[in-house]
Symmetry: C2
Subunit: 405 residues, 2 copies
């Protein structure tokens, strides 16, 4: 303690730019959500906060369309939501059928293996939905499989898989299902109970338009039974559902301290879920669809081709091929620097080949579609590409004009 | 999809009360930190955000007093910071000496065991600091021990242990050290390099006065080497330092996407670290000490006895015995409801026996000390206990009057 201190660095408050977020998330937050976030903190055991946690559970059940008792928000990013599902449900030696048609299926495989399970991988091309026939075959070939895991809405490609069909196959084979709805929740139908899914995780920063850092999850009774029947302790203290349960849903409302909840982020989540409820799920899904149609009409004019076939396309995540001869990074840089517009780059085998345009939650609105089409047309024109801005904007406009909303 | 939707619940925006936070954390946030938090989100791969991440690393090195390259904020609560240390450093079969003198030492034992290690537990009474002689004995009795883990500042009791001495013992025995500084960082000296500690974790919501949900960590080169030399993959995808490294400190600044960082919380952390730097570490430590002395002077008048002996007492976490015949819960309820003042209850064997008064970060200021002494005296008087409010406030005042600050 007598040694001189290492001196402080010369860093001052950071100016943070204002961006329009049309990448793969985070998405724009509504001012109401920002206001809730910025409220001064209260204690995580404060009765007012505990009451809010109860409301968040109820609101999340609506978002997931479930009556599952164990429905709450994990205090961490979507990846922690994913890991919470796998670390609790997978035991050493368990065989899990994992569908991979993008980045996040690959991450599921990692999860299974790190917890001592064996992943039987069902591969589909990036940009394609998961093929239920392949899953049926894998289930037949692996009668000892215990789970089926798949991504409902692949953020890396914009492909949506048929969750109802995949969960049904799993159940018929006596398997539990783990479903990633990070990009779908609030944007396209997530119907936990109607599907019969067992463990679903999502993220706060996509179609819910909340801050990043929370992972809504829901578990069926069957999943809870499986966790309770584990032979070994869950190899994580933080994610052990048995412990988390005593905090989020203690019997009689008597909560056991587990960890300090990210109270401000949960203020924001509460508000974003209230807004989803006010709008109504079906209306929110229709809104995402409408703005996607408008963006697509403009993209058609600009000659941008979608990666995903029409019937599997996520309205909230529009992946299109980068036109030949166009410098990926230069376009994104110009959009960001000149227009404060963030769009997403391609990941993995699609890096440098596609752009990903998010229309998620509060980002799914007309001013964003118009800004995006105009800015993109300008930037492409500036690079000597044919890009008819006026016609692209008119095409989007006519979608809005014919909308009944 | 043809089934009727489960209808939305009748929940509206939540009114959030304004509290003064004098519990064991979260602490009050400075308005500058709240303002940073409430900025609209930007992308986690935005160059402006990446620049901010670099600054956060530099600022955290100052807070930890270290030159460790691997210094960053884990995207999760302090418990995830703890788990990040243990899941990376403990391999199956490893023997770890864990010191337990409160709740959090117990949690460390759970961590060691869940990752397949064996915990050799050194017990000290709750409220006592860790006894270095016991640790020396344990190291002698266990020459095959690989690590020593202890809590620098026990949030459950307010006891501070001699981290320099404990880390020295570990090093002399060829062990790595894991140190919990959740409640000390920014409040009392944390000197990572001077101690020679190998893995330190903390929390954002205590003396840094930021939102809960981030866990600053720092790892020595020796710790990094140990992780690289692991025989088995880290049994967590999210916390695997090898993967996190490529996101937070990629060589050449080329970041690999790992997870969506909680950007708003990191805005707030950046601002709180800038404020710590502006004040200066030594000044921040002195401020915590001053307000503790004032609070203590008032407590002496009110007849409140400290749990921890003077030389091991944390200024930022004041645990005192509840006077005989006083209803613990009723007092805390009145403080919260009448004065909007949150204080902490006892945990574990101290439940119902002690109160914990936090003076952490922005909560460590005179108006809080005065509010607390006045409110507590009023409540105790109202319950028929002798509590001389005027003299208690005067005692605190005289501490401020004689302060050279």
């Amino acid at each position: 303690m007598n040694a001189p201190l290492i001196p402080p660095p010369g860093i001052a408050s950071c100016p943070i730019p204002n961006r329009v977020l049309m990448g793969p998330g985070p998405s724009d937050m509504h001012p109401r959500v920002v206001a809730a976030l910025g409220h001064s903190a209260i204690g995580h055991l404060d009765p007012a906060f505990v009451a809010m946690m109860e409301e968040i559970k109820v609101l999340l059940r609506y978002a997931f369309q479930t009556e599952n008792a164990l429905t709450f928000a994990v205090s961490g990013p979507g990846s922690v939501g994913m890991e919470t599902c796998f670390v609790n449900l997978v035991e050493p030696g368990d065989k899990v059928i994992v569908c991979r048609n993008g980045v996040f299926g690959g991450r599921m495989i990692e999860n299974v293996q790190r917890f001592g399970g064996t992943a039987v991988v069902v591969e589909d091309t990036w940009g394609e939905p998961v093929d239920p026939r392949k899953v049926a075959d894998a289930l037949k070939a692996n009668p000892d499989a215990k789970m089926v895991a798949f991504v409902h809405a692949e953020t890396s490609t914009g492909a949506q898989s048929d969750a109802a069909a995949l969960v049904k196959l799993a159940r018929e084979a006596g398997c539990l299902s783990i479903v990633d709805t990070v990009t779908s929740l609030g944007g396209t139908p997530v119907l936990a109970d109607a599907w019969g899914a067992d463990a679903i995780y999502s993220g706060s920063q996509k179609c819910l338009s909340c801050v990043p850092g929370l992972a809504p999850v829901t578990f069926s009774e069957r999943a809870v039974e499986r966790v309770k029947a584990r032979k070994q302790k869950v190899p994580s203290w933080f994610m052990d559902l048995g412990l988390v349960l005593e905090y989020w849903s203690a019997p009689g409302g008597k909560r056991t301290y587990h960890h300090t909840a990210p109270v401000n982020s949960l203020f924001a989540l509460h508000e974003s879920l209230v807004m989803l409820k006010e709008e109504g799920l079906e209306q929110a899904w229709a809104r995402h669809r409408l703005h996607h149609e408008a963006l697509k009409a403009g993209f058609d004019v600009l000659g941008l081709r979608f990666v995903v076939r029409e019937d599997a396309r996520l309205p909230q995540l529009n992946a299109v091929y980068i036109p030949e001869g166009v410098d990926d990074a230069a376009v994104r840089k110009q959009l960001l620097e000149k227009y404060n517009l963030e769009i997403g780059a391609g990941l993995g085998p699609l890096a440098g080949k596609v752009w990903r345009f998010g229309l998620m939650g509060h980002s799914a609105r007309r001013e964003n579609v118009d800004l995006c089409l105009g800015a993109l047309a300008d930037v492409l024109s500036g690079m000597g590409k044919a890009a008819d801005k006026k016609t692209a904007l008119a095409a989007a406009s006519s979608v809005y004009a014919t909308s009944t909303r």
